[in-house]
Amino acid sequence: MTSIATAPPPTPATEKRHRRRRRRPRPDSFLGATPFLAPAVVLYSVFLLFPIVSAVYLSFLRWNGFPTTPQKWAGLDNYAEIFTNDTVFYTALRNSVIWVVLSLIVPTVVALGLALALNRRLLGRNLIRSIFYIPAVLASIAVATMWAWMYNPNAGLINSVLTSLGGESLIQDWLGDPKIALYSVFVAFVWQTTGFSMVLFLAGLQSVPEELVEAARLDGANPRQVFRHVTLPALRPTLTVVLVLTVISSLKVFDLIVGMTGGGPAQSTQVLALWSYSQSFINHNFGAGNALAVVLLLITLALVLPYLLWTLKEDE
């Protein structure tokens, strides 16, 4: 879709006149667009791009972050430190990977199931949809506080329910046991994020052609076959979006962990985003903190850049 008709190639006679006229900003020229772009581009460059580029620069320094202390050039020392000496880094990296993989599966599958079920005409359908979606609008820090309270070993909901159902052997110190703490926090993440993916899937289901489903049914396809051969292919773009957004939100997980465990016990719930923050602002090691930020940035770009280029390429 082009909104401005392209001018015919200038003939030698008109070329001179054209050139003179071009000095004035034409509606479709870059100059004409500048006033509209400038505020966004300036803010974006100064407060988003510049900090990201600085993170790369700061990762080569030895510095505690205080303006009064001098910065020392450290070359690749911070990276060497991370990869050879920092055991927390490997825990954080492993936990981030576990988190990404789990969240690509668990909330996505649950959300798809819910969307398929709630796409039918059912009593109270809108209310049920809302109930699943509401956690998605809450602040992660509020979700964290709620769930820390749910997991409270003595008076919390989960252990109390287990007790009253006779499952006392299942009682755990959910957030205090290094073996399970990460998964306990992940449950809260599932509770919070499933509703959003469900809404995306519900939207995607609108694009499944009704006639095709009918035709498949008439041809004797069972519900599973209809899902496999009609619904799923139509949902593919939605699925891609859901998976990409899930990867992005899993790599950003921070508030939930700060609010529930602070990375503990014994670093067992540490993730890259939190470890980078802690190195910079708690241990006052800006060099290491920013080197970790760069690692996180590279992982993110490797996972989502192909998708972004692909979307924008299709949009000719």
């Binding site: 879709m1 909104s3 479709d28 020229s29 870059f30 004409g32 667009a33 772009l37 505020p39 966004a40 581009v41 803010l43 974006y44 988003l48 510049f50 900090p51 990201i52 600085s54 993170a55 700061l58 079920a117 059912l122 009593l123 109270g124 109930i131 509401i134 609008v137 809450l138 602040a139 992660s140 509020a142 506080t145 709620m146 769930w147 820390a148 409270n152 008076a155 909901l157 509770w191 809404v199 995306l200 519900l202 939207a203 992005i248 950003k252 921070f254 508030d255 609010g259 985003a273 980078s276 910079s280 602002f281 920013n290 930020a293 760069v294 996180l296 770009l301 850049l305 924008l312 949009d315």
Partner: protein, 279 residues
């Protein structure tokens, strides 16, 4: 005419399953509200599902005072009321330029701008702290608005770009014939058309701004500049054993967002959809 219908047992089973799971999904809310009205002794001694022995409504007032709720709620409101409309206006202008004024390399610009939506904010926290520090804008509600604007731009531009692209080209052409310049075209033709998209973004962005924690943690360390999520986290770590008040504070902190959600449900889902799935 016989209207006897076969009872659809699988469908009823599905419905019962859905109702049960949605009750489980709701349980944290019920548990939180019940606890918020109990005394600490009551929380420790009676069953979690029992109603409060005495309804401790004063938990709310006490928690509000302890957590300095009015100060932080005002800070959050102030930030959101400036950030959200301003950010939308800035993003709409840029999205309009990229989508409708076909300058060279507009696609490259779009890619660079939307890339920001993919980057975890934690990558930029430390440099953001030093940048705002050198501009003397730390611990300032006005200061934090700037990175908030910057981090809102990518997603909003991406969203509004898709919207502006979907408007037929004839519209610009006829406006241009009537003598409209870029500003007229943007202000009197495009912005009014974008109202539904802007409304959806407004709500989503209000909630996102109200809920933001990571940047506020780093950039607003002064207690009386804190926002609601910071105050909630502080409350949780300071008054751990007063469960009633803690839960009352959570309820109050999520209240505005719940109200916004309930009033503007339609825009919510619409916004979530339109933003993610390109038309």
């Amino acid at each position: 005419m016989s209207t006897r219908r076969r009872i659809n047992y699988p469908l009823i089973g599905l419905w019962i399953g859905l109702v049960l799971s949605s009750l489980i999904w709701l349980a944290p809310f019920v548990f939180m509200v019940l606890t918020s009205l109990k005394s600490t002794a009551d929380v420790n001694n009676s069953s979690i599902w029992s109603l409060p022995q005495e309804w401790q409504w004063h938990n709310y007032a006490d928690a509000a005072e302890r957590g300095d709720l009015w100060t932080v709620a005002w800070n959050s409101t102030y930030i959101a009321l400036i950030k959200v409309p301003l950010g939308l206006f800035i993003s709409a202008a840029a999205a309009f330029a990229i989508a409708r004024l076909r300058f060279k390399r507009h696609r490259a610009l779009l890619i660079v701008l939307t890339l920001g939506a993919m980057v975890p904010v934690q990558v930029a926290l430390a440099p953001m702290f030093t940048t705002l520090g050198s501009l003397n804008l730390l611990n300032s509600t006005n200061g934090i608005i700037l990175p908030y604007l910057a981090f809102g731009i990518p997603y909003q531009i991406f969203f509004l770009y898709g919207f502006f692209r979907s408007i037929p080209a004839d519209l610009d052409a006829s406006a241009r014939i009537d003598g409209a310049g870029n500003f007229r075209l943007f202000w009197t033709v495009m912005l009014p058309l974008a109202k539904p998209a802007l409304a959806a973004l407004f709500i989503l962005d209000f909630v996102a701004t109200w809920n933001e924690y990571g940047m506020a943690l780093v950039l607003l360390q002064d207690q009386n500049k804190a926002t609601v999520p910071l105050a909630l986290q502080a409350f949780q770590s300071q008054f751990t054993s007063n469960y009633g008040q803690l839960n009352a504070f959570i309820v109050m902190s999520i209240f505005p967002v719940l109200i916004v959600y309930l009033l503007f449900q339609r825009y919510f889902t619409q916004g979530a959809l339109a933003g993610a799935i390109k038309g």
